[in-house]
């Protein structure tokens, strides 16, 4: 029998309030409580609560034949406890059935795996502790923020004791290979890899309600037909998606909840499939090959890479500034500072600064509370400026050295504004004149004339 592995990502960031530069040094609370509460409650009612009900009823109906897995970020867990405790209760019910696996990840859905290995490990530990405390569940499988994965990450994750990792079935890694097998990391063979089947996953997550899609409307019959058409030799289909697909991205009136109930029921009744959790899949199957992933992949965008979060000048400056104080916070026991340290690392803040969307903004706009990446950057940097002052004050008070920046980045080495000004002036002063680089080129058109 083939395995079907369902995994849902749940994450909510602590969104920042509008924080002006004149707040720096005077107001140290950064979060938009009203908006955060409002959004969490809305999604709880539209998605988390009704979707959990559907899953619970499937478990009651089919027992051990139906299983499912979740990753819930630490910041999401905190917000549920704060604004919607019924969601926590609902997940506890699911946990109690024993048919649910909770996955480990970074506490704040951060990019620490790529930027600061020490901080990455700390965050994963903090998250696992939170999951155990709330649901009594000890995590054994890992998934990184937005399924970001590389050889280096595999090494760290294996070292932390995880045996299984979930990531994207990205074309640039798989080439002609199918995602419907168990793989392992080439340099770290003990770490098993489950790869997302993005075709079948996105049929539900993105295309379900698209009326201009040739397959619309998607029925359970049709979908199970596609599953049954999967090559005989292939062993597992991994359906990974945002949990918000159910009721939030695809609204209830599209029939998504009926689908969420109907398609597993049909799959099980067909007798060809069984639902398994990631850890079960990894225990049961043999990896068919090792995958070498020197450059990080993710499940985002067409590119399946990190360019939504890292790489433009804004993001680079923000990251460099943020992680410049990582060593201080590693020795810090101030609760408020540690809280902000977690929240400010959330990948969402950097996603809002992405500029590659100017050409195709559709998906992105839905998730972005800012009018433009520049506004997102300004607001974040204002907050960060205040945070850095506090952290450096803490370092001074506690005899911790303020160190030079940790992350190597050319932006990070640029001195603050006022010094640049002096530089700009001093160099050309030799000629007695300041040459400003206002250098618009004459157009080709004019040159011809």
């Amino acid at each position: 029998m083939k395995s079907l592995c369902l995994y849902f990502q749940i994450h909510q960031p602590f969104r920042l309030r509008t924080y002006r530069f004149f707040d720096i040094g005077s107001d140290h609370y950064y979060y938009d409580d009203y908006q955060n509460k409002h959004i969490v409650r809305r999604i709880a009612n539209n998605c988390y609560l009704p979707a959990n009900e559907v899953l619970l009823s499937l478990i009651k109906e089919f027992g051990a034949k139906f299983k499912v897995s979740f990753s819930i970020s630490g910041t999401a867990l905190e917000q549920f406890q704060k604004y919607s405790p019924d969601v926590i209760e609902s997940f506890k019910k699911l946990a109690k059935t024993g048919n649910v696996e909770f996955l480990a990840e970074t506490y704040s859905h951060s990019l620490a795996a790529t930027l600061n290995p020490g901080e990455f490990k700390r965050q994963v530990e903090e998250h696992s502790q939170a999951v155990e405390k709330l649901f009594g569940y000890k995590t054994t499988a890992f998934r990184n923020t937005e399924l970001i994965y590389s050889n280096d990450i595999a090494g760290m994750v294996q070292e932390m004791g995880f045996k299984t990792l979930l990531t994207e079935g990205a074309k640039q890694v798989l080439a002609w290979k199918s995602p419907n097998f168990l793989y392992c990391s080439a340099p770290h063979e003990r770490l098993k890899l489950l790869l997302r089947n993005y075709q079948l996953s996105d049929d539900i997550a993105f295309r379900f309600s698209q009326r201009d899609w040739s397959e619309w409307p998607l029925t359970a019959e049709k979908y199970v037909g596609w599953l049954n058409a999967v090559d005989k030799k292939q062993e597992v289909v991994n359906l990974f998606m945002d949990y918000e697909t159910f009721g939030e991205h695809q609204k209830a009136d599209t029939g998504i909840f009926e689908f969420l109930h109907a398609f597993p029921a049909k799959v099980i009744k067909s007798g060809k499939w069984t639902f398994r959790t990631p850890t079960e899949v990894s225990n049961e199957l043999q990896p068919v090959a090792g995958l070498n992933v020197p450059h990080a992949i993710s499940w985002a965008d067409e590119e399946r890479d990190l360019t939504a979060w890292i790489g433009n000048d804004l993001q680079d400056e923000a990251f460099a500034s943020l992680y410049s104080v990582a060593h201080i916070l590693a020795q810090c026991d101030d609760k408020d500072l540690l809280r902000d340290w977690n929240y400010l690392q959330g990948s969402d803040h950097f996603y809002y600064m992405c500029t590659k969307w100017f050409s195709d903004g559709a998906v992105h706009h839905y998730f972005n509370p800012y009018g433009s990446p520049y506004e997102a950057f300004i607001n974040y940097m204002n907050v960060l400026s205040d945070f850095l002052v506090r952290v450096n004050d803490y370092a001074d008070e506690n005899g911790i050295a303020r160190k030079a920046l940790v992350i190597r980045s050319k932006k990070a080495e640029v001195p603050p504004a006022r010094e640049i000004k002096a530089d700009k002036k001093s160099a050309p002063e030799k000629s007695g004149k300041t040459v400003l680089k206002s250098a618009p080129k004459p157009s080709v058109r004019l040159k011809k004339k």
Binding site: R20, F21, F22, N312, D313, L314, D316, E317, A318, T355, F358, G371, S372, Y374, E375, F377, I378, M381, N382, K411, V414, P416, A417, R418, I420, K421, A422, K425, K433, T434, V435, L436, K437, S438, A439, P440, K441, P442, S443, R445, L446, K449
Partner: protein, 424 residues
């Protein structure tokens, strides 16, 4: 094509836009006969054949002109309906108007009239005469489409259409609401409305203007099409050399100091930035009816040592001002398009613009704020002065963005509009 001015004799952005457009149209195989009230002889004729309205005789015996003349003189009488004037002022205006109407008649029927080519006090009379001349030109030249720029030339456009039956395209570079806020001149409004009603197509310079045209003038949306302005590639040499005498960063406002341009918001934002960071200088370049009030406000806020007025800047001095600037701010309350941010970006100066400007519709690599949101404006200025990557991003992407806004492309859209008007 009916315009009011043509480079190098320009008082506003209209002439520059017409010049860019006609050059672009030439690339699309459109020949332009451009009519101005007064030609000085040194206008650039690389892209157009320029016709001087002052040289055109009017066939006074043709009854068609007579009939049309009656209509425009009627419009002129309507110009007395200017709101908020005292009775004394009103009487003075009426007297003047009657006189000018008399004066108008004689020179027109003397077959030739010397236009001043300026926005004079007897503007309405010139507009009317220009219309009459427009009709005459239309009758004596071969063409397919009539294109009229801004209300001053709409009566001419309408007259030309009446005489020849050719399709009329009117171009809204600004509406009376942009120029005057809510205290509009109802006669100007009426000419604008009439022009758009009579036109086969209306071109607006932004969607902002398009909405005003549809909502405030009640024009059928189907014939209103937005064609965003472009900017002429700079003819400046590779490097602009200038001496910058101050150490501090410079934040600049450049434009007419009038209600429409929102100068007071710039001052309030400056005050907020200076409270936090005294190492900044603010410059307000330009002149206008609010200038004295602005100077008083700056004095009252006690920021005058950091806030400077330059008066009206021309030509090279504008380039120098941009070269000295670290941030350019355009806080316009209402701006149909707004070309100056593009000029700033072309000079590598990062810009903050109001959301109430048409140019905001075509720019991504700028910061957009509501003109009234001085907190956001101050925040944007502060960020550009302190977070270096922001300036870097604007410099790398902003210049590219501006260079893509070429007249050739805008003219391509205009040429399509001509085609659709001719076919319809």
């Amino acid at each position: 094509m009916f315009g009011w001015e043509f480079p190098p004799h320009i008082t506003g952005g209209l002439g520059t836009a017409c010049f860019g457009l006609t050059k672009g149209l030439l690339k699309h195989g459109v020949e332009v006969l451009f009519v101005v009230p007064k030609a000085y002889g040194d206008e650039s004729q690389e892209a157009v054949r320029l016709l001087n309205a002052s040289d055109v005789p009017v066939l006074i015996h043709d009854p068609v002109y007579r009939e049309y003349w009656d209509q425009i003189t009627f419009m002129e009488i309507g110009s007395n309906l200017i709101p908020y004037v005292t009775p004394a002022e009103f009487e003075e205006m009426v007297t003047e108007n009657t006189r000018s109407a008399e004066e108008t008649l004689s020179p027109v029927f003397a077959e030739r009239f010397q236009f001043s080519g300026k926005y004079g006090h007897d503007l309405m009379a010139e507009v009317s005469r220009y219309a009459l001349v427009g009709a005459s030109i239309a009758a004596n030249n071969e063409f397919d489409v009539i294109h009229a720029h801004d209300w001053l030339t709409y009566p001419a456009g309408i007259a030309a259409k009446k005489i020849t039956g050719k399709p009329l395209v009117v171009h809204m570079h600004a509406t009376e609401f942009d120029r005057s806020g809510e205290n509009i001149n109802s006669n100007v409004f009426e000419i604008e409305r009439k022009g758009m009603e009579e036109a086969d197509r209306v071109i607006t310079v932004s969607n902002l203007t398009r909405n005003i045209v549809i909502e405030r003038y009640g024009i059928n949306p189907d014939k209103v099409i937005t064609v965003h302005n472009a900017v002429e590639p700079s003819e400046k040499s590779e490097m602009v050399e200038t001496e910058k005498h101050v150490r501090e960063k410079v934040v600049t406002f450049l434009g007419r100091i009038t209600f429409q341009k929102g100068p007071e918001y710039f001052i309030e934002a400056a005050q907020k930035v200076l409270e936090r960071d005294p190492n900044v200088r603010f410059v307000m370049a330009g002149t206008g009816d609010l200038m004295e009030k602005m100077i008083r406000r700056v004095a009252k806020l006690k920021i005058a040592t950091k806030f400077h007025f330059t008066g009206f800047l021309k030509g090279d001095n504008v380039d120098k001002m941009f070269a000295m600037s670290d941030v350019y701010v355009m806080p316009s309350v209402s701006e149909p398009f707004g070309i100056s941010p593009l000029e700033a970006m072309r000079s590598n100066v990062p810009v903050v613009i109001s959301k109430q400007s048409g140019v905001a519709e075509v720019l991504n690599h700028v910061i957009k704020v509501d003109f009234w949101d001085i907190d956001a404006m101050a925040d944007a200025i502060y960020a550009l002065l302190h977070y270096n990557s922001l300036t870097q991003m604007f410099q790398t992407h902003g210049t590219d963005e501006v260079n893509k806004l070429v007249w050739e492309e805008a003219a391509g859209k205009v040429a399509e509009i001509y085609k659709s008007a001719v076919i319809a």
